[in-house]
Symmetry: C2
Subunit: 205 residues, 2 copies
DNA sequence: GTCTATAGCCAGATAGAC
DNA sequence: GTCTATCTGGCTATAGAC
């Protein structure tokens, strides 16, 4: 029973820490606020995770491990590029809509501390473009796709999917839409983005 | 003479503050580090800008005023949508390549404090989509463009241009490219991105 | 395991001499 | 305007009782 209790408390802490770190970032977050949100006190936080840095890394690694393998799965399955784009757009957007702070959290902290990636790269399931690259080159040769570098296509796919979550306040202000309308735009993108990309790169037969 | 000297010192401070804030963010930045980078001491920093908050706002507003009106200019000139896309992609990318930290700085701090936008919206030159929207709808009706919502097109244009600067460490790691190769990818995008968008939305005659 | 109390440090801000 | 020295508060982290 004790074990279950501990695990509950640990995941309770991780959940609280995730929320605070995602709102405030590593530097802006306060251990006190995390403790409050977890319903415990500061000393106990340090009992479970010796330092703020260690707690942060636990949260970060968990977040990264949630996003990255999914990406990898899409990149390396056996479907065509067109199907990959549809799958990715549909699945990834659904996922991010449920966790809208995740992308900006991860990108932010990676920008501040790119060395994190070195640790991550060692892990299994770290995304890899090799197969995707070969496949794009092949479909270009076969006349299915217009000439495009796989890296550029990859950047475009990810950009179109993730950017709206990185810039939501700005886009809302520019486009003069309220929260509800913006939410609807995001949902529409689940299909819109795939169409947009495929219209651009596919050669019509 | 004194005035010139003061202005120099002020812009010297702003320049140093910009660098530190862009690297570390509001919370991570240290007044001491800004003072060091400006070649002065901490007390003098407080003499010119009473508080860290005020210094930060000065830096932020300057950065924002650099980016936003340019965007507005492209949106509201008299060229066709296709030309707008080419212009924007070419000019904006050139500009950002020179100031690669700007986008992530602005988006980050806006996410932490969206109220900034309320202040900004009052200013002249705050980007506005009205004209762009009308124009897109018109060109769709005329059969020049495929049906697309102006807001979605706007998001796509901005996403494709800015995202590579928000996620550079991540993309470098995934695509397994070094700094030089990534830099080249960015330069290529000055033309690639416009082609990508136009291929997607333009109806061939 | 969980708490209260506190040590110890560091950063923003100011006082005051020059 | 520019500096040195210092105050003050807040935050991470730990000591120690229960």
């Amino acid at each position: 029973m004790t074990e279950t209790k501990d695990e509950n408390k640990e995941s309770q802490i991780l959940e609280a820490a995730k929320n605070v770190f995602q709102r405030k970032g590593m530097d802006g977050a306060r251990m006190q606020e995390i403790a409050d949100e977890a319903g415990i006190n500061k000393a106990l936080l340090h009992y479970y995770y010796r330092s703020k840095q260690m707690l942060f890394e636990a949260v970060f690694i968990k977040a990264f491990s949630l996003l990255a393998p999914q990406l990898n799965k899409v990149l390396n399955d056996d479907s065509s590029i067109e199907e990959k784009i549809r799958n990715f757009t549909e699945n990834y957007l659904s996922f991010i809509i449920k966790h809208p702070y995740l992308p900006s959290f991860i990108l932010n902290e990676l920008n501040r501390n790119p060395d994190f990636l070195l640790k991550m790269k060692a892990n299994k399931g770290f995304p890899n473009l090799d197969k995707f690259k070969k496949q794009v080159n092949l479909e270009v040769e076969q006349g299915i796709l217009k000439p495009i570098k796989a890296e550029q296509l990859f950047i475009n796919i990810v950009a179109l999917n993730i950017f709206p979550f990185l810039a939501s306040p700005l886009i809302k202000a520019f486009a003069n839409v309220d929260d509800a309308a913006y939410q609807q735009l995001l949902v529409d993108r689940k299909t819109e983005v795939a169409i947009f990309i495929i219209d651009s790169i596919k050669i019509k037969s």
